[in-house]
């Protein structure tokens, strides 16, 4: 019998099971494929539509874009290498009697996978984008090939970077002593949870990595004030995204954890979401001010802020409703976000009230379909 690499065979089985799985996993795989089709195809069509506008802006900065792409791909490839090395040397397959070169090969496959897929997508998009701007096809080819080359070079760099010792995310780096006495019943800790989660994900180590791309794309000769405003805006955007991610995480985990209690969904949502929403409001206002400094029209900045706040309010509520057992959540989410996008386009003043009403709708459904 032909000897096969057991780890590659395992990888193949994982993918096969994902795509051919039975019952729930098959449904999940089908949903994933449909979702991918619904995202990738419209994204490519949309990109082709705005390509005539985008190309003149992007082509002169192709080097900066290439550097940014290379940096990003080096970061995710390096992260993947650390993660998959930890898995293959410490996980359940670590005791398998396979040569180290075999392990090395499978770690490489997994670490380079994302860059590989992106290179394929870029090359596949080439004819479409060429067709969109047939008069400047050389520029399109140059830009896309730059990106593809940057992905490749960045990945190789990320792979060869020396691996540093990395703290596990689950390690007890900060045994938080919060209070020594007392036992008053309170949901306050739920707001605390979101804050702690944001702090965990917004660590200086991570932020410093994420700021690097923003610093790199600043053109030479940019004034200090403008550079500060741009980097500041970038940090605020990161903070807003991470806060939302943390709120969604807490909504999911907390909703699940407190499901066997008589706690009402509206009360739970308020406990989890009020403080993060306040933070979102504060920092979105700060972002609007910085956008103003950068010369963005106040009306446009306000609309962006409005859209973001509506999204940041609705997303955790949807997740909470899902955690409390509300059915047809995909349809609800699709309807809710489509409605918000539609209102943003035609009746932007209604976006925030509509988001509030949609939140109430989700919470009412959660109360009715508690289990």
């Amino acid at each position: 019998m032909k000897q096969r690499n057991p780890l590659l065979y395992l990888l193949w089985l994982e993918w096969r099971n994902l795509l051919q799985g039975t019952g729930r996993s098959r449904r999940r795989a089908l949903s994933l494929l449909v979702l991918l089709a619904l995202v990738i195809v419209p994204a490519l069509v949309g990109l082709a539509a705005i390509w005539p506008v985008l190309l003149p802006l992007a082509a002169p900065n192709s080097t900066a874009i290439g550097v940014l792409v290379a940096l990003s791909s080096s970061m995710w490839t390096h992260g993947g290498r650390i993660r998959w090395t930890a898995f293959y040397l410490g996980g359940w397959v670590s005791t398998l009697p396979v040569r180290s070169s075999v392990r090395h090969r499978v770690i490489a496959v997994r670490s380079f996978a994302l860059s590989g897929v992106l290179i394929v997508v870029l090359l596949a998009a080439l004819p479409l984008l060429n067709h969109a701007v047939s008069s400047a096809s050389a520029l399109t080819v140059r830009l896309l090939l730059t990106c593809a080359a940057a992905l490749l070079v960045g990945s190789l760099l990320g792979w060869w970077l020396p691996a540093r010792a990395r703290l596990s995310s689950a390690s007890p780096s900060r045994p938080m002593v919060l209070r020594q006495v007392g036992g008053r019943a309170s949901l306050g800790a739920l707001a605390q949870w979101g804050k702690l989660q944001t702090r965990r994900w917004f660590e200086p180590r991570i932020v410093s990595r994420l700021i690097a791309p923003a610093m790199l794309i600043l053109p030479l000769g940019t004034s200090a004030n403008l550079a500060l405003a741009l980097v500041g805006l970038w940090v605020i955007i990161l903070y807003l995204l991470i806060t939302l991610r943390a709120t969604v995480h807490v909504a999911r985990k907390g909703g699940d954890w407190l499901r066997p209690t008589p706690l009402r969904p509206a009360r739970l949502a308020w406990a989890i979401g009020s403080l993060p929403l306040l933070k979102q409001l504060q920092w979105t206002l700060a972002a609007v001010l910085l956008l103003g400094v950068l010369g963005v029209r106040p009306l446009l900045a306000a609309r962006l802020a409005e859209g973001w706040l509506a999204f940041a309010t609705l997303a955790p509520t949807l997740v909470l409703a899902q955690a409390r057992g509300v059915r047809h959540m995909r349809l609800r989410a699709l309807f809710s976000f489509s409605l918000l996008v539609g209102l943003e386009r035609w009746r932007s003043q209604w976006v925030i009230p509509a988001a509030a009403l949609l939140c109430i709708w989700q919470l009412r459904s959660s109360t009715k379909a508690r289990i």
Binding site: L178, A189, P260, P262, L263
Partner: protein, 253 residues
Amino acid sequence: MIEVILQIRALKVGYGPRAVLEGVNLSVARGEWFALLGPNGSGKTTLLRTIAGQLIATSGNVLIGGYPIQEAPEQAMRLLGFSHPPERLPSLLSGRQCLEVYAAAHELTEIGEPVLALAERFRLTSALDRAVETYSLGMRQKLCALLALVNEPALIVLDEAFNGLDPASALILKQELTARVEAGRCAVILATHALDIVLGHANRAGLLLDGGLVRIWNAPELSAMRAGPANALEAALAEAAFTETASTGSERQ
């Protein structure tokens, strides 16, 4: 008069097209400790999660204190104390914060003195102000047990709650549950593989096999097993499982 706390009628639960539980009927009264036995994958956790309202039954009813968990979840959950698997605890909160949140969720003004006293007996008090992520498995298990007792529940649902507990803490938890059961304060339903707990503490035990409760042993039967040879319950379990398998096989033929 016997007060039935948990009543399950013709329960059917499935994951997608696969039925995990089918035709389960069970009543547990206040002052009763019911042990749920069965091989891995027989549906014990599914049954307990359905009782706790975490899974929706395809058909049938679960009533806690007379309240159907699907139609009147709030009333039913006021009577319920459910011990989560330890990995589901929020790792960034402290143990005390978890207790506070649970107490608030049950609309209490503070964490009850019995729960804090039990934490003290578990030697967990000094760890209560540390983040849960710094806890060992046993400490998390103790916290899960404390959370299940926060609201002085009429029905305590425990899934393998003694796994990872040190012998002294396991004994304390058994004593606490026994005291509550004997005082008629609650009923306990415990899924376990530890037959010593079944023989030492349970009033009734049921064997769940292939999604159905195939055999229930009552208090006199369990007493007889206690008095009998050391492996009496194991033998009874094996016999019940064999009888069930044989009858299923003959039905198929």
